[in-house]
Amino acid sequence: MRPRPLSPHVSVYRFQYTMIGSFTHRMTGIGLAFGLIVLAWWLAAAAGGAAAYGDASAILGSVPGKVLLALWLLAFCYHLFNGIRHLAWDRIFGFEKREARRSFRVVILAALVLFVALAWFLFFRGTGVAP
């Protein structure tokens, strides 16, 4: 059988900065997949009782825990807005090069604004993660 056609590899494309948006969508998606493990573990800890939840809460409230939570929050904000951009593209909306570049900048800005707002609520309002 003759070889089937393959999708061109990343390395054959000339670099354009909108490519970063595509890589980042995948990387944040993989990160969020690992976040689902933490979500399940957190729910199981809540179901396991006060002691189990206290342990989980202490881990998530530690400095490395907070750093990971912040990264997941940032990944969520980006993946959410860039996902909406992808859904728009699927309806052949905003697919021109100029529009795609502009919407990339809009996604970055919107993700950062949402991230700062959510992180403020989560870490600095006093009701959030354990001290």
Partner: protein, 128 residues
Amino acid sequence: MSLRSPLGEALGRGPAHDGVHHWIVQRVTAVALAVLTVWFVLSLVQLPLADHARVSAWIAEGSHPVCIALLVITATWHSRLGVQVVIEDYVHGRHSKVVLLIVNVFAHVLVAAIALLAVLRLVLRSFG
């Protein structure tokens, strides 16, 4: 006249059209997740997360367990499809690719089962 069987002619010739289903499910779950995750994250950041009693009560309260269950199912489904595409694109060893694709499915089903059982336990406990 060819001596090859019709199946032999067809194998490896082209798509089985499963890709379209994968593509559509990825988008439909994305639309659902855009709503469910925003609700969940907005709720979480307002909860006193260190307080076990308040968090447990919130999870079991009213429509929350249904929404969390939908979120868990939709998110693990969407995630399974997304991770699958990444494995298919970047893992080139024939055996390692198959093994990783299977591990991917098992891991996502396991995560969903653990999360759903936890929500169920919290709901049952809330009845006293």
